[in-house]
Assembly symmetry: C2
Homo-oligomer: 545 residues x 2
């Protein structure tokens, strides 16, 4: 028996596009002699589907897609994901289901039992868990069909769940397992996935065919990296990261094992490629083509520009250099040099004339009051407005260049440098931005070295440096990581030897700036805990504030 | 036996403040001869607690509050809500619990079984449902203790749930029921609550003491309106809406019944009072005192200003009038008249000089291109920037004045009129804003009549009217209500007789503007389905777009 994994890029709500793509891949799989072709979780409607699932009309369209897809299951079986209505009155209205289609019709449906409801996942909001599990018989083979999280409770050892679908399915002695997934990227998630699949293989002694979604849906990036594992625990094959792919496997060969391949998983290469895909897919799926951003001469906008140029091509990106009286010469020169290195067109639009117009208009109201954060913010906001004016006039979408460290502590101006339709590196700490820049420069200087070596500064007042108002990033980022990713409280962090006053100040800054993050663009997620849909904090909470 | 309901305003994460308040109310209840005093759901830590619940340190603080509160339970029993750790390895880490404290210690804990996970609720993200139910014996009485949603599955008829806690508890023959709740306001929710409590009373034949949270937590407003119901189905008492209150009841009198009181529930009075509380609590809980907003001469900013003046007092509110070359004289006059009616200080800051500075700066880049949405947005953004400059300089927090209709269809400028720390009327449709204004004027003109009668206009180009680019609000709002509140799809809405092209255009506008709403301030929720945490739509979704 030959099994095809079709790691495809699905677009939420694009029923006709998704169907067309699956039918085309089915034809290709048939041509390659596959007996079964497997698509990812919720492949008719996309993932995360969110509250679209609450519209009857949307479910009707998903049902229609399943019926259409089933018609293509002639001479080949198709496994695909789609929501199913729960026929019982009790419980949630839907199941998250895997459909098995053959002979032009739906043969069997297996619902998902383990419904992730944490971090970015809201499945219990929509779905009722499966209570019944049955293997599928096809061409003399017995198939255990599971959906994503269903294999993450091996031997019932995951404390979140009390059911283990594979324990149930194994009572019917399957020959192999198919898992259809939509498992989002985090830079350290790849090895964990292999570990979990291996734990399944160790317990159930069957080959596993795991197909993951590839592509980005706003914040969430799905990396693909589908896995075929032999019963001996070897990775028989790992599909590429960040691109669509169809491959066909011979069940006997996989069952025999003895072959081990695994892709390299280097943190900054992964983050780099994930962000490029995140940018490209957001624009493609929203129907946009061109990006604009402000280039300050600092490292954040430099790294963002390199990513954008790689995602869209230099000709589809445009930058503004917007110096003020506080901008250093080297900042303007560095920015210009970078744009020239990349071949990205740039305009220089000095903000002083507009700044003076605001100053004049506000003078009667602000008379006698000293220059302070107000005037710093005005500069940042003029830049935001100019970028938005270009965006509106020429149809370039503004990219936000804030990093995770400044997002965390609120070191940014709302409606100023926090403008933008998508936040590209908002899940990358400042110290990681430096590493990412070094990665970009590894085969030759793309980002001018002087951008990498000068001390970070917002340049909104004379001789300003980030370190005037923030701890050194090397310390700050460690404290932030403990608090955000590891969810440690102040006691635990201080117990590790960090200065108590510093820890309390940093945690307080994170909490009191929730109101700013509430108004930012979606942030491409590359870590286990990003700001955005996976981190839901009260704005008016008094805790640690 | 005498039972006190303490409808208190709890602040999320403010452990010491919440504890102090509960201890003070406990003393007051004791003074009034109560045997038991009841506080709302999760009263130690506040509701919605959101991801604070994922921090061990936070749970430790909640536990410490329970221990402290128990010490106050001398000569009186206390019922209060707090998270409890789940001692089993399997399942979620926490329960959402009601504590019964007496004799200076915790006597019994009853966990919540029905965990709302829809709309604004995420309880399954954090909590494991209760599986065991036991009544509490105290001073010879048998008490059924339930938490909020636990009574919303009377006789197991709510399709969402398969367990009915009161059916279980009634096996132990309780004398009365206490329900501690944190049930957020919607203008049509009050009657439904009475209906549900009456259904409980009809089935279980016991008096019900229902205590609700009062106060606002960012988006969510809790109205109080706690209920005491007799077994005959009469509302023995209904506590006031939108204010703290402690009242003590004699169990025998309540059991006897025959007394019926109920508060009036007039839609616009409720919305008005809810928004005033929402404003007041957001500012108080974030530690702010003063508000600013832009007064255009239109109805949205007029209504927002009246609400702000009532919430904070006219002296704590300040407004800017920012006319451009497109502003009509009557707009400026109307705005000035309104400010004077309310005694709110105003400044006139004409935007033309700054507008011309932008024009000059952009001229070389935009030469030959016609005036379009770009220049309209520049005007809106200059106003946003000026308001933020005053906000930064003087510490007034900017209020956003967008209504639900324009939020829905994206008729607003990001970083312009969409600026602000809190969106006051973003859950009130334009036609409802007119009704709310009429309600404000019912005892004499507060808002000048000419503001109510002129056709809505953004005044960003000559002779512009909203109806140039949008359907009439009377139609638009009906279509939006069907789609947003009732979650009807295009077919269902068109089937009701609305023009197909109009329906498709409106639904498309709603969906493609999700990116704008992603970047708005929190919106005070007064309807069953507000933009914000309770409506989670994909940004890049292709559905109906």
């Amino acid at each position: 028996m030959r099994i095809a994994l079709a790691q495809v890029n699905i677009h939420v709500g694009n029923f006709s596009g998704n169907l067309e793509k699956m039918v085309a891949y089915t034809e290709e799989a048939k041509r390659l002699g596959a007996d079964i072709v497997c698509f990812p979780e919720l492949s008719t409607c996309g993932y995360p589907t969110r509250d679209f699932l609450e519209f009857d009309d949307f479910i009707r369209q998903a049902d229609a897609s399943v019926q259409q897809l089933a018609k293509a299951a002639v001479g080949i079986a198709i496994v695909a994901g789609s929501p199913t209505r729960n026929p019982r009155i009790e419980g949630k209205d839907l199941f998250n289901s895997a459909y098995f289609m053959a002979d032009g019709e739906v043969k069997q449906v297996q619902h998902k039992a383990l419904l992730p409801t944490y971090d970015v996942f809201d499945e219990y909001r929509y779905f009722e868990p499966a209570r019944e599990f049955h293997i599928i018989e096809y061409k003399g083979k017995r198939i255990a069909l599971t959906i994503c999280e269903d294999i993450w409770n091996v031997g019932n050892e995951n404390p979140l769940y009390t059911i283990c679908p594979m324990d149930e399915l194994c009572k019917e002695q399957p020959d192999f397992m198919i898992n259809i997934s939509a498992s989002p990227f985090a830079y350290d998630h790849g090895d964990e996935r292999i570990h979990v699949i291996r734990a399944n293989v160790a317990r159930y002694k069957v080959p596993v065919f795991y197909v993951n979604h590839v592509g980005a849906q706003t914040e969430l990036i799905f990396e693909g990296g589908s896995i075929v594992m032999s019963p001996d625990g070897n990775v028989f094959d790992e599909l590429p990261y960040f691109e669509e792919c169809l491959r066909v496997y011979d069940l006997e060969e996989v069952a025999e094992g003895g072959r081990h391949v695994a892709l390299p998983k280097e943190k900054y290469a992964l983050i780099h490629d994930a962000l490029v895909l995140g940018l490209r897919d957001y624009f493609a799926k929203v129907g946009l083509k061109k990006a604009i951003l402000g280039l300050s001469g600092g490292i954040d906008s430099a790294v963002t520009l390199v990513l954008a140029a790689r995602a869209f091509g230099a000709g589809n990106v445009r930058v503004l250099l917007m110096p003020s009286q506080f901008s250093s010469d080297h900042s303007v020169n560095d920015a210009r040099q970078l744009a020239e290195n990349l071949g990205v067109p740039y305009d220089i639009v000095p903000i002083e004339s507009v700044y003076h117009a605001y100053e004049g208009l506000l003078a009667p109201h602000f008379s006698g009051l000293p220059f302070n954060i107000t005037e710093e913010n005005i500069q940042a906001r003029i830049r935001g407005m100019l970028l938005m004016a270009f965006s509106n006039k020429f149809g370039h979408i503004l990219l936000n260049t804030s990093n995770k460290s400044e997002m965390a502590v609120g070191y940014g101006t709302l409606y100023g440098d926090m403008c933008g339709g998508l936040c590209v590196i908002g899940d990358v700490y400042k110290t990681e931005v430096f590493e990412l820049a070094a990665f970009m420069n590894k085969d030759g200087e793309v980002i001018p070295t002087s951008i990498l070596t000068k001390p970070p500064s917002a340049e909104l007042r004379p001789n300003q440096k980030d370190s005037d108002s923030l701890p050194e990033y090397a310390i700050l980022d460690q404290v932030l990581y403990q608090y955000i990713e590891l969810q440690q409280g102040p006691k635990e962090i201080i117990a590790q030897g960090y200065d108590e006053a510093l820890v309390r100040r940093v945690l307080r800054l994170v909490n009191i700036n929730e109101f700013k993050r509430h108004q930012t663009a979606p942030i491409l997620r590359v870590s286990r805990k990003a700001f955005g849909m996976g981190r839901r904090m009260p704005i008016e909470g008094k805790y640690l504030s």
